[in-house]
Structures are given as C-alpha cells and as structure tokens.
Amino acid sequence: MTNSKQIIEIKPWWLRLIILLSIGIPVLTGWPVNIATESIKEILPVTPEMANIFVWMVYACFIWLVVFLSAGEKKLLEYLAIAFMLGLTTSISGAIMRKVFPFIAGGLSGDEVSFKMVKLFIIIITVVPYSILVMNSFSARNLIENLTKMKGKFKTIGLHFALAFRVVQHVGEVIFNLLEIWSEEHPEKLFPRHRRGWSEEWYSGVNVFPWVWEAVSAWIFACIILAFEPIPAMVDEVEKINKVLSQNERKP
C-alpha cells in the first residue's frame, strides 16, 4: 500500500478539493457529529458525553482509513506519530497547568474538564493526519505548470501563491521530520531522561531547567534555519519562471 496515491490522482484539482473538504466537514462545523450523538444516545444506554466521544472515535477511524488508502501505511504511521505527539503534549501540559493554576478550570467539575480534554485529544489525533493529507494532496509544481498558461496580473499573483504554498509545504515537512531524526540522533534534545548527569549527579533534579532552555532554543533555531534555508533557491526559480513568462508575453 505504500505507493498508493488515490487522492492526489483525482483530477481536476477542484474535484479533489471538494472531496477533501467534504471529508473534513465534521471538523470545521461539528455536523453531522451532533446528529449522530443524539441517535446513539437513543440507541445505547450511555451518557451524552460518552456518545459524543464514541462518534468522534468512529470519525477518527474513518479519517485514518482515508489516509491509509490515499497515502499508505508508512505515511499513516508518520502522521499518527505527529498527531499523538501534539495530542499528548497538549493534554499533559494542560493537566500540569491545571494543578498549578486551578482557576483556569473556571469552576468546571473534574468530570467536565476530563470530558473536554478527552474530546480535544481525539479531535487532535483526527485532524492532524487529515490536515497533512490535505496539504500533501496538492502539488506546487503542478500549480506552477498550470499558471504558465495564464497571462497578465493573475499569472504573477498565482506565482506568489504557488511559492507561498511550496514554502508552507516545505516547512511542514522538514519540521515534523526533525522530530523523527532527532529522536534517533539527538535524543538528549527531545527527552529529559537523556540529559547529561541524569540520575547520576546530586543536582539531577535541578538540571532539568537548563535542559528545558537548551532544548527549546535548539528547537527554535533548528526550525528557523530549516524553514528559511531553501527560500533563496525557491525564490530564484520562481523569479526565473516569471521572467521567461513575461518575455514570452511581450513577443508578438
């Protein structure tokens, strides 16, 4: 299944966009999740909260199936790794901060907060694979090729849009891959238990703070360097295309 690319092969591109947007309707509007929740409540002896979580889980499985069929097993696992990382960091940091600053719960009961957090976690592990699939279902190169057939101002605006899309695709790809690379090559930058002196030195409990600072700085600078590195080449390429197209337009 690793080479299957059903969604990206759907043509024309606007049909592909409509299909992808239709798949993502529950994420953006909540419909038909609310209707399905009401139906399940009537059929099964469960609370409204459990019915809602059940519906979101079924939807998550549907999205994962779409990603599996469109991008293959390897990509699905990559997207899920990113999704679970984001979901877990959100849940864990939220739980810690609610212990430190209980007022952020706004007087909600423990059960109400738990329901909100579980639902949020499921939404994140659903929406992240879907969003990456949508982003990778369109090719900046094809967009540029189509733009070469256009004329005048629309062509230039289109080239700006194509460049922006290509840069965003690039940043998303390299930064999420960084996580996989660092987990193998520089685990000390990702996991506190790999930091220097951990569990051996008397100060091991305190040295987590310098580690947090170093890890965050390393992440920020690595992300910025990787994000900006190929921009000069990309800009140069688009400028050349624009120049050639403008010269061709001027020719009688």
């Binding site: 953006l28 984001l86 939220g94 460049l163 922006a164 840069v167 965003v168 940043v171 800009v235």
Partner: protein, 181 residues
Amino acid sequence: MPERKKWTFATTGIVAALIALSAIATMVIRIPIPATTGYFNIGDVFVVLAGLWLGPLGGMLVGGIGPTIADAIGFPIFIPATMVTKGLEGLVVGMIAMGATGTSIKRRTVAAVAGGLIVVVGYFVFEAYIYPWFGKYIPTFAITDIGAAIIEIIPNAIQGVVGAVGGLALWKVMSGYNPKK
C-alpha cells in the same frame, strides 16, 4: 527595516515561512484553558517578529493566517477571534515599528508591547461580548461569558509578554536575513 518597499517574491517566501512557523509554534506548545475552551500558546512570537521585520501587511498576513490554521486543528470555534485579533496584532506591531530607524529597539519594544495588549483586549472582547452575542443565534458560539473571559486575561497577558519578548529577540537575530543574498 521595516520600511515601505515593493512586495517581491522574496517577501512572499519569508511571509509563507513565518505563517508556517507561527502555525507550528501555536500547535506544539498548547495549554488548554477549560473555562473558555481556548488555549495558551507561543505562536505570537512569530506574529510579533513578522510585524517588526516585514511591516504592517506582512504582520497582518502572518497573524491572520498562521495561528488561524493552528486553531482549525482542534479549536475551530476560535477561528474568527484569532483571525481578527492576531491579524490586528501583526498589523499594529508593523505600523508602530515602521517608523523606527536602523536597529533602534525603543520604538520596536513599544510596538511589541502594543501587540501583546491587543491579544489581551482582543480575546477579552470576543469572549465577553461577541461570542455570547453570536451564541444567541448560533449555539456553537455560546461557549464563553464575561466570567470566563476574565479568567483568560492572565494566560493571555503571559502569552502577550512571551510573544513580545520572543519576537524582539528573534527580530534581533533575523533582521539581517536577505533571501536574495
């Protein structure tokens, strides 16, 4: 920088990279606030950086698009509030910083602080007044009230300070970057 100049492909490249970075920064560190169903994040760092570096239009585009993409992943109800508040944050930071000369930091600090204030005031207005009003007609928006909005002032203020300090620090590092070199 920033001064009024022609919008080039290089500007588009930088704006797109900052949009992606602000979306990722908003997503990676998220602390949910159950009272309002919102969350604390550090995406403002890149919105402030965009305003300081690229001016009002670049700041507005990065602020209005990047964090909004992140909201679509898990918190879609906040899309209108984020698009307006963060877009305004980038625009105002850029407008104030536009008059700064050379590498002067004073005016840029004022711009970054103004950006932080817009985050606090903008979300408060949306959560205390606009969303409850929307909620009368569209029940999905009835998730906050004035009490919840007051609770979120402190996390939003911390977010504003982190955004201002981080944005200024990154501007010092990044302002010399030129994709044409």
